[in-house]
């Protein structure tokens, strides 16, 4: 199918296009030169006075996997009365709000103009399930990060100092589970929690293993350098959710400088930093550590971070592989929780939560994310997420964009929140406003760069995948910093979304269902290294897992539309 998008106002940071009126031509799922298109045969879309951007990329959103499914099970009230019946032949029934069904996730993201979403935590042993769920999410492209923080084999290898074997194991694990990158969640704290009943800081020793979380982070980050995966390592910091934890976050960020580098670019990604940016000794004296973290981010070019921005007044479901924290949170909320435990890999907890506008703590949480986003100098290293569904749902992304582009939007929200918390923060004094170009950076261009797919995703240059989002707003006529309502409305329902050269959304309604690709990496492992690894792994698997090694490996045929990213490693 050929499509010609006429006269759109294009924002494309990777090609340095700032709101120029351009034509975009699409042929066979790729963007091509407009001259190559036969206009009489093509579908011509008149995008005059509309904003054209590449499809959005979300680098951290819990959309599939065992914990999402447990979340669906313990929250029946989340699915009550939210059912949208199916509309043949294009859409399936949609249900759920904070933990929606697979179809609603796909359609919801498509309506926002997002076309690539990454599930950030899947325990290796349950990744087959994660892939089954990813396979049923329509429209968007998907990928997953694999959890390695509390994996006994990883911990053993670090403890025994077998660095080469660790690198080989992680490279093998990435391919065996068909995942895209490595994820660390509160490294080492699962073991500490089981044995001592509490989480640990990055300098403390992990009981039984005798190593510190610092060593795990450094070892895995260096392994990622050797494997040379595009997105190096995704870190959920230690002591998440405890007051005073911003110090731990700063320490983790500075660790990125000491990692032995083999490739340019950031060495670490600190995720949902809002949850790890708390200053103060207790919940009563909580303050925002956003300023310090933004300062560290500006100083240290090796780290990137995403926000985990809180949405006040809307329901959320906190779910993380950080089971110790969820256990604490359950005692704070005193409602209900669930834990999903896996053999030797990880555990996760799920607690429903609601961020309240008048709450002191929740207001501080709301402030932290915005402070970091607004005080960061280099927008290419900041990413907008809500850590869906932990701090809010992805359906509310346009609200975050509005807070970033409009001081008035922030002020209007600030009138409703806890005033004592506001007096302790610098947010009211920040005047910075993002432009639409900046929004295009943080939601399209820089995530593509971070994931190493900038050659064919996240931009509208010739040769890129034809993932295009068109929003019905004219930035030359509407002042988005004043009329932020119009902006929210336009970005909540994309006027048109094109996925792989097919029109999937028209005026905010899904009109066609396609299935996106699942991205995973294939690091090349030399034969002798693999032989060496297998001689170690086979007994280890027999000792630890209930699953045979052959059954553990996920086949390519189990993935709908697999997309393999081959990687040249530094393994010798």
């Amino acid at each position: 199918m050929e499509i010609l998008i006429r006269n759109g106002i294009v924002f494309d940071p990777l090609n340095n296009i700032k709101g120029e009126v351009m034509d975009i031509a699409i042929k066979n799922g790729k963007i091509v030169d407009p001259k190559e298109i036969d206009e009489s045969k093509a579908v011509v879309v008149d995008a005059k006075n509309k904003v054209v951007m590449a499809g959005g990329i979300d680098i951290h959103s819990h959309i599939a996997g065992p914990k999402v499914n447990v979340g669906r099970m313990i929250r029946p009230e989340d699915h009550y009365l939210t059912n949208k019946p199916h509309k043949l032949p294009y859409t399936r029934a949609e249900t759920g709000l904070t933990v929606p069904n697979a179809y609603r996730i796909g359609y919801g993201y498509a309506r926002l103009g997002y076309t690539f979403v990454v599930e950030p935590a899947t325990p290796p042993i349950k990744t087959r399930h994660t892939h089954h769920e990813l396979n049923s999410i329509p429209i968007i492209d998907k990928a997953a990060y694999v959890l390695v923080d509390s994996n006994w084999i990883v911990l053993d290898l670090i403890k025994e100092g077998k660095k080469d074997l660790l690198v080989a194991y992680l490279a093998w694990l990435l391919y065996a589970t068909k995942t895209y990158s490595l994820k660390l969640v509160d490294p080492g704290s699962d073991v500490a929690w089981v044995l001592r009943g509490r989480g640990i800081d990055i300098d403390e020793e992990i009981p039984f293993y005798g190593i510190t979380p610092k060593e795990i982070i450094t070892a895995v980050a260096e392994a990622a350098q050797v494997i040379n995966i595009p997105h190096k390592v995704h870190i959920h910091c230690n002591r998440l959710g405890y007051p005073g934890n911003y110090v731990t976050t700063l320490k983790t960020m500075t660790l990125s400088e000491s990692v032995k580098r083999l490739a340019p670019g950031p060495a670490m990604h600190i995720t949902h930093v809002q949850f790890t940016g708390y200053k103060g000794d207790s919940w009563a004296t909580l303050e925002s550590g956003g300023e310090e973290i933004a300062k560290e981010l500006n100083r240290n070019p090796n780290a990137t971070l995403d926000l985990g921005q809180v949405i006040l007044g809307r329901p959320a479901t906190t779910m993380t592989a950080d089971a110790p924290f969820e256990f604490v949170l359950y005692h704070l909320t005193r409602w209900k929780w669930a834990s999903s435990d896996t053999e030797i890999d990880s555990a996760s907890g799920i607690v429903p939560y609601r961020y309240r506008k008048k709450s002191y703590v929740n207001t501080i949480q709301w402030v932290i994310g915005l402070e970091i986003a607004l005080l960061a100098n280099d927008l290419w290293r900041v990413f907008i997420t809500t850590d869906h569904p932990n701090a809010g749902t992805f359906f509310d992304y346009p609200k975050i964009f509005a807070w970033l582009v409009s001081k008035k939007a922030r002020e209007d929200t600030m009138k409703e929140v806890n005033q004592r918390a506001l007096r302790k923060s610098v947010l009211p004094s920040i005047d910075r406003e993002y432009s639409l170009y900046d929004i295009a950076i943080v939601t399209r261009a820089s995530p593509a760069k971070l994931l190493g797919v900038e050659s064919f995703k996240g931009h509208l240059g010739i040769g890129a995948d034809a993932d295009v989002a068109i929003y019905d707003i004219n930035p030359n006529e509407v002042d988005i910093s004043k009329n932020y309502d119009v902006f929210i409305k336009a970005f909540s329902r994309a006027w048109m979304v094109i996925k792989s050269g097919e029109i999937v959304v028209k005026e905010g309604e899904v009109v066609k269902t396609v299935y996106g690709k699942t991205f995973y990496v294939k690091p090349e492992i030399p034969e002798d290294v693999e032989k060496n690894l297998m001689s170690y792994l086979e007994p280890a698997f027999k000792q630890y897992y209930t699953v045979a090694l052959d059954n553990f490996v996920i086949g390519k045929h189990e993935i709908r539309n697999p997309f393999e990213v081959s990687i040249k490693t530094h393994l010798r």
Binding site: P76, L81, P85, A93
Partner: protein, 282 residues
């Protein structure tokens, strides 16, 4: 200003009729009302495919002045009076699930029976049912916290009620002339529940506040209540009982201070076990 909706054909599947509410009718012309959206099973339909609609050609802006009469009704009609904030709905026949869901004011009168979740999460107004009702009248939804059920208003049931009457209610009043099934007033945090007839097992189970009164026999009492006193007569919400009642406090399982009152004479065998504790405390 009254609209008469007459069911033309007997529906075979559940119908999501949440457009039948004075709030939805307000300010609309008769033709617009006829074109209001309903769901028949999973399929979309309009009001006039199922009902013959008669009434004034233009509804007033104020829902309080609108009366809706549903004739020939069926127990497949769900969500009648959804989130209504005023006006009156009179149903001549049965209604389905979720009647008066989240209503905040106005009144619903049902000259027939209602199915489950009658007045679920209602905030005010009144519902009167002349027949029986299903389970979880005035209740909350599954998975929600206690106290998220009915918050205000009254439900009067002239027939019998199902189990989990007023489940997780946080206010308001439910009065049942007939009998209730198991777990009447379970998990309530506030509000009053009066069952004039008998109740099933464990009335007031998990209650942390509020008041549950059972004027008849109770099948079994939860052991997590302690006895407070025996009163010679009782008057609650304008209803007087001229017989002795045993007052229990609980449920200790949810560290509650709710009041559960059950008729002494009908439940002698149950209350006599507690009586020794009563004498000790005096």
């Amino acid at each position: 200003m009254s609209y008469v909706l007459k069911l033309v054909s007997t529906p075979k599947v559940l119908i999501d009729a949440r457009s039948i509410s004075p709030n939805k009718f307000a300010g609309k012309s008769l033709d617009e009302i006829r074109k209001l959206r309903i769901l028949e099973g999973g399929a979309e339909a309009t009001l006039d495919t199922l009902f013959s609609v008669d009434g004034p050609s233009k509804a007033s802006q104020d829902p309080n002045s609108i009366e809706i009469i549903i004739e020939n009704s069926s127990n497949k009609l769900c969500f009648i009076g959804y989130k209504m904030s005023g006006g009156k709905i009179v149903v001549k026949g049965d209604v389905g699930h979720f009647t008066g869901y989240k209503m905040s004011n106005g009144s619903i009168i049902v000259h027939g029976s209602a199915r489950n979740y009658l007045g679920c999460k209602m905030r005010g107004g009144s519902i009167e049912v002349f027949g029986d009702v299903g389970h979880r009248a005035g209740g909350k939804l599954h998975g929600e916290k206690s106290g998220k059920g009915m918050r205000g208003g009254t439900i009067v049931i002239h027939g019998n009620a199902g189990s989990y009457l007023g489940w997780g209610a946080g206010g308001g009043a439910i009065i049942v002339d007939g009998n209730a099934k198991n777990f009447a007033g379970a998990d309530i945090t506030s509000g009053t529940i009066v069952v004039k007839g008998s109740a099933g097992i464990y009335p007031g189970f998990g209650m942390s506040g509020g008041r549950v009164v059972v004027g008849g026999r109770v099948e079994a009492m939860s052991p997590s209540f302690y006895i407070d006193s025996i009163v010679p007569s009782l008057k609650v919400r304008g209803i007087s009982f001229n017989k002795p009642f045993a007052t229990f406090i609980g449920d200790v399982l949810s560290s509650g201070r709710g009041v559960l009152q059950i008729s002494y004479e009908d439940n002698k065998n149950i209350i006599d076990v507690y009586k020794q504790f009563l004498e000790e405390s005096i």
